[in-house]
């Protein structure tokens, strides 16, 4: 027997064949550690997870850092929850943020998908090539030494091409979609391409957070210069609380107010804890101009630890994951709705139909995510008869805001002013367009 056939890949196949002789149910899980950013691959959390998982299950490390886990007799739902809790440990890694869930962790029911699984493992045998996201391998980390330089670079760049928008919609029980508002944002991938190509922005959370204070203003600038042919009546922006007090924001806020545009400031919980007194002041300031505050990033874990309504937000974004199917989470969502949060919850990162089903079952009215984008574009395509653009193109065209990029769409009017209508989000203004 040569060395290869003794490698982890062969061991796995041998083990699976043995196990399948028993009447038990098995799942094989592949954790694509190799798809994480290098800085996360070496994160201590991985070692701790593996230690915990290895205690009661079969655990194998592939030659490229990926991990194979074989779990016996677990219910699919429980497995999904476990996998989601592992995904939640790297919330900012592109492998989780910018890809469907299976990209980072893929599970196989060995009773029904044995061949598929073995084929995957066979492919791995002898291969030693890690697959990496984002070409991040050669980037230097963001440090206090290079931060000022990168900040300057960001300040001088034109970020119009790096800003994207994503619709937040209502979905009626007969699956009719109406767009409520657009979130305008940029991503670390886009920043890496357009403005800050040399450093790994995710290597240090605090330094990156500091950089977002500059990026907030750059996004505002991009929105101002983008000459959007159609300015949505409501737009949301991710903002640091400190940004709300800047002169540039004050100007922007006033300009938007004059145009009849309502701004929603999406604020992170950690920012509120950084300065609770400033949060209250920022809310007042925004409300004075008719703008709103959205509490962003509420995950399954946040629901465990926080009383969301104590922050008194105008809107709340809950991040979809299958962990929300927990009875406790459902109860907490109900409580939020009873405490005045009924028309305030937006379910975001809806990657699939399951998210929508959960939302609608639990009386959530507003949705955002890849699956929603697909629905919006599919509907637009069905009404846009003259052009037969692929769905993927249509989705991309819906996302951009800068003129140069928009020219790719042959029917911009369709994207900007969807005939399927926009709905007003605030309770007292529920008239349809």
């Amino acid at each position: 027997m040569d060395a290869l056939s003794q490698g982890p890949e062969q061991q796995i196949i041998d083990a699976v064949e043995r196990l399948l002789k028993s009447p038990d149910n098995f799942y094989a899980v592949r954790i694509f550690v190799s798809r994480l950013l290098p800085i996360h691959q070496n994160d201590n959390k991985i070692a701790v997870i593996l230690h915990i998982l290895g205690e009661n299950n079969y655990l194998y490390k592939l030659s490229n850092q990926d991990v194979i886990l074989i779990i016996r007799n677990v219910k699919k739902d429980h497995l999904e929850e476990l996998l989601d809790s592992i995904r939640a440990l790297f919330p900012r890694d592109p492998a989780i943020l910018q890809h469907p869930p299976e990209y980072f962790i893929h599970s196989y029911n060995l009773r029904t998908e044995y061949r598929l699984f073995v084929a995957e493992i066979d492919k791995m045998a002898g291969k030693d090539v890690p697959s990496l996201a984002n070409n991040a391998i050669n980037k230097t980390p963001l440090t206090p030494e290079n931060l000022e330089g990168e900040e300057q670079r960001a300040k001088l760049s034109n970020l119009a091409d790096a800003v994207r928008r994503q619709a937040v919609v209502t979905v009626s029980s007969d699956k009719k979609i109406k767009v409520l508002f657009y979130e305008l944002f940029t991503s670390t991938a886009l920043l890496g391409q357009r403005a800050i190509p040399n450093v790994n922005l995710l290597s240090d959370a605090w330094l990156f957070q500091h950089l977002t204070e500059t990026l907030d203003l750059k996004v505002i600038e991009a929105v101002q210069v983008s000459n959007m042919t159609f300015v949505p009546p409501v737009i949301s922006l991710n903002l640091n609380i400190s940004t709300v007090f800047t002169p540039m924001f004050a100007e922007f806020s006033q300009a938007m107010k004059e145009k009849g545009v309502t701004l929603i400031a999406e604020i992170q919980v950690r920012d509120i804890f950084s300065n609770a007194a400033e949060y209250a002041k920022a809310k007042d300031l925004l409300h004075q101009s008719g703008h709103k505050v959205l509490l962003d990033g509420i995950s399954h874990n946040s629901l465990l630890f926080l009383d969301v309504m104590s922050f008194e937000p105008d809107l709340i974004k809950i991040i979809w994951s299958s962990q929300l199917e927990d009875a406790y989470d459902i109860e907490v969502v109900q409580q939020i709705q009873e405490k005045g949060g009924k028309n305030k919850i937006i379910l975001c990162r809806c990657d699939d139909e399951k998210a929508l089903m959960w939302g609608m079952t639990n009386k959530v009215m507003f949705f955002q995510g890849y699956f929603v984008d697909k629905m919006v574009s599919a509907l637009a395509k069905s009404l846009c008869k003259d052009f037969g653009c692929p769905l993927a193109d249509c989705i991309e065209n819906h996302k951009v805001i800068s003129d140069t990029l928009r020219r790719k769409c042959p029917n911009i009017k369709m994207i900007d002013n969807p005939p399927f209508g926009t709905a007003k989000i605030w309770e007292d203004e529920n008239a349809e367009n």
Binding site: A88, L147, A205, W206, Q209, V269, R270, I272, F305, L306
Partner: protein, 418 residues
Amino acid sequence: MLKTDLTRQESQLVLSLKKFEANLNRIPYDALYLQTSVLPESEKSNFLSAVNDMLQPMILLHKWQKFFLGNDDIVLLFSPEQKDELEAIIFKIKFFVPEESSEDLTKIYTLKKQFKEFMALVNSQVGKKKETNNTDEKAAPAKAVAAGAAKEKDKPEEKIKKQPLTPKMLSTVENSLKGTDFANMIRRQSVCAVVGSSHPQSMFDEVFVSVADLRDTMLPNVDFSLTPWLFQHLTETLDKRVLSHINRHDEGSFKSHFSVNLNVSTILSPDFVSFDKEIPSTFKNTIFLELQPVDIFSDLASYIMAKNFAKERGYKICVDGISHTSLRYIDRERLGADLIKMFWSQDILRRLEENDETLQEDVKRNGPSRMVLARVDDAKAIDVGHTLGINIFQGRYVQKMLSSAPGKRRVTSFYIGK
């Protein structure tokens, strides 16, 4: 020109200085100016007696000279060779005064070079008995006196402008911390039970780097709140250094009954594993790991992991740095924390006086018996704490109470009831 209304000591000081002026190169002294007048009235008598106690041995031994000015300020003429000893005393002096006063409290003058400024300072401060209000003369604000030695022409009314911590400064500080012998910067402050009017009973000591000291020595005039995320980065570096300092300390002073500030990521790191190895398992339940809410809510999944990891080993979790406003959002039990630290501010008293019930609700929800009122700088804070049902305190005032307590007592078995 001698003023006719000088006190005897003031006259002596001015005379001595005049003598030195004749031959500046042979001045045997440098000068320390102690600006007692910046302290709140309530602090002054304690301060003066403490200063007296600390300086007297040095005065006798090394023939230093001390002069009391009419406005309670003190001038000390000391021999330059003993500057280090004096610095140590100054450090102790500053430790017991409110932070906002400590900046302008002391100033050292190298008389060979700064005689003129010092003379000008003395002349401006003598003849001001504290009972009289000099309305015809603008009382120089505290900061102007401190800045008096500088050659800038600041208007007395202008405050020294605070600057933000920049990435460059952050880089410089963090790099210089790598080589620093941390022992000098590490402080301990006791967390004590004060029930009714009892003497404080020390429960455990918080081990920390004084950010104020760091700022004074390396980052003067920096306002950390202007760039809070860079400040978080700095505290993360500091916490790691404190942890590795504790790891290298053999004397047993870090074996039980202490707390240390940590980031979630540090708990999941090999540094913590090393730290954990050195702690006898019987003592782990007397050790608190102090975490900040900003850090916790930055990455909840990691917090859960770190918390479970630490608690399985027996450590206790304390959520630190909570203000009376952010207390609203905290639920200690849900977070799985054993203790929370709220810092004292005058606003707490104001809210109570305004019958603000939400504050009391927030305290009740978290369980007052599991709360520490920190940054306690006067007796009023203790009273307010008691009103809220809190019996555990930390701060300069508590340190003072401890040092005047008849024999410090430590609770040897540590149990926080349900």
